[in-house]
């Protein structure tokens, strides 16, 4: 019987992979479900096992799926690894994703699984932290904080009870690496959490997954059950979010696990000192924890040898939006934005010119093609008032209205604000109104309150574009510096970058945008 591999990843299923798998079963093939290889323009992808290795076909429709078994399907791709999109990658974290059965312990062990945990448990906790520090691994959730330092702080914090919390609340639009990993290689994350547990002396862990990811929740829960003996005495469980973007912020995530409203906590104290249920807690993103097994198994030098500047190792970049070759591209830091969008992504899917890319989710800056020489590196992006975030790259063609996108950034912040701090809760609402007035031409008379005698600092006359623009900039500065967390604090990034690079979409001349 011919063996074929079909992805059961949520994205593949959304494109019809289940129907294709059914059709192949009916045609007499033995169908094995894997995670996704990560290139969605060829999904649903079918790989047929032959003497010459696995031969890919895609995209395959259910109606003509059986033709891949006879080898005369027109969408023959050959060995998938040889496609340029995959040949150019350096997969450390995603090495198994799309290749192995996600819930097969035998596959996981046969492809190098559990070696990192075994290596870690042969070392003292402090030695494990030494290795993480030496690797240069930084938090992959967005802030880029050195993982080793976080672990060291938790290790040295006094306490009988400590926790590992995995932040799998991947809410940024344009990102899906956490989801793909949890669906396609869940044991890797479990191994990483268990390594962190050994390193800081924690006996229990929580993986907080957003409710929008039902496949990942199911996959990880089953994987935890299957591997319980393997990671014991360490134990862990999945907690499911409830549709609040702000719970991706680490302290509100902790409150959410505790069963409270997901509101941000003021820091200090750091979670590494006073975290979940008041105990010292390491909270890391999925990709941070999933990098640990490689570092322990292959040595920190192998990881640190890759990268750019102070950004070491690889980053699973997610190419999204209006892009021809959308998907997951794991690469060492240092690749430029232009290489990612044009060479690897192949430009827009609509075949129109690229006008803007947003890097790092709803809180990331919009960049025009003139900034495509920016290298993927935390410091380089920060220097341009942007962020890498979770490395989602959303591509827009020339039909995009950047005034509308700036407004949406404020609107999203208003919808998702936890309400704890004023700059975010109220500033975002005022931001939407101000952008609306700016785009509408900014002309309105001074309102009755402004006209009161005691409002000495209010504008006296009618407002024009210039005064609305000044107001918006002032508001952005207040949100940037006055908000408790990155939601209110970073929402100005997309707004100000849209203003800076695309002033014409707000009805402004470049000179006006400069002046204000």
């Amino acid at each position: 019987m011919t063996r074929v591999f079909v992805s059961a990843d949520m994205a593949s299923v959304a494109l019809g992979a289940d129907e294709v798998a059914d059709a192949l079963s009916k045609a007499g093939a033995e169908v094995l479900r894997t995670g996704s290889r990560g290139l969605f323009s060829i999904e649903p992808l079918v790989e047929v096992e032959t003497e010459a290795g696995r031969i890919g076909y895609g995209p395959v429709a259910a109606a003509d799926a059986a033709r891949v078994l006879t080898g005369d399907h027109p969408k023959r791709l050959g060995p998938v690894e040889a496609l340029p999109f995959f040949a150019r990658q350096r997969r450390l974290t995603f090495a198994r994703c799309g290749v192995t059965g996600p819930l097969s312990l035998a596959d996981y062990a046969a492809h190098g699984g559990w070696r990192g945990l075994a290596a870690a448990r042969a070392l003292s906790p402090s030695e494990v932290v030494d290795r993480i520090e030496a690797s240069g691994l930084r938090g992959r959730g967005g802030a880029g904080f050195p993982a080793g330092r976080k672990w060291r702080t938790a290790l040295e914090a006094p306490g009988d009870e400590k926790f590992i919390v995995c932040n799998a609340d991947e809410g940024d639009s344009g990102t899906f690496a956490d989801r793909m990993l949890m669906e396609g290689d869940p044991f890797l994350l479990i191994e990483g959490v268990a390594i962190a547990g050994h390193a800081v002396g924690a006996g229990y862990g929580y993986v907080y997954i957003r409710s929008e990811y039902p496949f990942a929740i199911d996959s990880l829960r089953r994987a935890i059950e299957l591997s319980a003996d393997r990671v014991a005495p360490f134990g862990l469980e999945v907690r499911v979010g409830a549709g609040a973007y702000v719970c991706g912020e680490e302290t509100s995530l902790l409150d959410s696990i505790e069963g409270k409203r997901g509101q941000v906590r003021a820091k200090p104290p750091l979670p590494a000192h006073v975290g979940l249920f008041g105990a010292p807690t390491v909270i890391n993103n999925v990709l941070t924890l999933a990098a640990a097994p490689f570092i322990l198994a292959e040595g920190p030098e192998a990881y640190a040898a890759l990268g750019y500047g102070r950004s070491r190792g690889t980053m699973p970049v997610q190419l999204a939006g209006n892009v021809k070759n959308g998907g997951l591209f794991e690469t060492p830091f240092g690749v430029t934005l232009g290489e990612l969008v044009n060479d690897i992504g192949g430009g827009t899917e609509s075949r129109r010119p690229v006008r803007a890319v947003q890097v790092g989710g709803p809180l990331g800056a919009y960049f025009p093609p003139s900034k495509f020489d920016l290298p993927l590196d935390y410091e380089s992006f920060a220097a341009e008032d942007g962020l890498i975030g979770h490395a989602g790259v959303v591509v827009f063609d020339d039909t995009v209205d950047m005034g509308r996108m700036a407004r949406f950034a404020m609107e999203f912040c208003a919808i998702e604000s936890c309400g704890k701090c004023t700059p975010c809760r109220i500033g975002s609402v005022r931001g939407v109104e101000t952008i609306d007035r700016l785009i509408a031409g900014g002309r309105r008379p001074a309102d009755p309150v402004e006209a009161l005698a005691q409002m000495r600092n209010a504008a006296a006359g009618a407002h024009g574009r210039a005064s609305e623009l000044a107001l918006l900039r002032d508001l952005c500065q207040t949100m940037r510096h006055g908000s408790l967390c990155a939601l209110g604090g970073f929402t100005p990034y997309p707004v100000l970058s849209a203003l800076k690079y695309f002033p014409e979409d707000f009805g402004l001349t470049p000179e006006m945008a400069e002046l204000a």
């Binding site: 949520m10 994205a11 299923v13 990811y213 549709g243 939006g321 919808i415």
Partner: protein
């Protein structure tokens, strides 16, 4: 609430009562069993978990997922986030509202369909995306929308 609903809630509360941070998992289970979290359930939940009613109410109303009224027969969650916008979701949103006969964020008066926004399903290279009665659907276009509406006899 019917007696069966009250019993179900009591059963679920007992199941979760000893768990740390039990409230969210419990609310998820109540919603899975009943379709929503009735306001009348709040005091039983608060009592069972040794919380105040205000605390439980606060959590139910904080999270977008929890519903306080029974859901429609069909749930259409359409992604409104940036990556889907880059692929034309605004036009599909208008078309979905027209074809399903309900405005974004609303439930039809006949209780057939709820159209809700969702901010990212993590399928960002193949939008516009939706969760249609719990099934993910990518590359949403007029034809797919029409097929879904037809399958619901709308």
């Amino acid at each position: 609430m019917t007696q069966a609903m009250t019993d179900e809630i009591a059963h679920l509360v007992a199941l979760h009562a000893d768990r740390r941070g039990a409230l969210l998992p419990l609310l998820h289970d109540v919603q899975a069993a009943l379709g929503y979290v009735p306001d009348e359930a709040v005091s039983a939940i608060a009592h069972g978990l040794n919380l105040s009613r205000a605390e439980v109410h606060g959590v139910v109303t904080f999270y977008h997922d929890f519903r306080r009224a029974p859901p429609a027969r069909h749930m259409f969650k359409l992604c409104r986030a940036e990556a889907c916008q880059a692929r034309g979701s605004a036009a599909i949103e208008a078309e979905a509202a027209r074809r399903l006969g309900v405005a974004m964020g609303q439930t039809r008066l006949d209780g057939e369909v709820t159209l809700e926004p969702v901010y990212c399903l993590g399928l960002c290279a193949t939008g516009p995306n939706a969760m249609v009665d719990g099934r993910p659907v990518s590359r949403l276009d007029s034809a797919r929308l029409e097929a879904i509406a037809a399958s619901w006899a709308l």
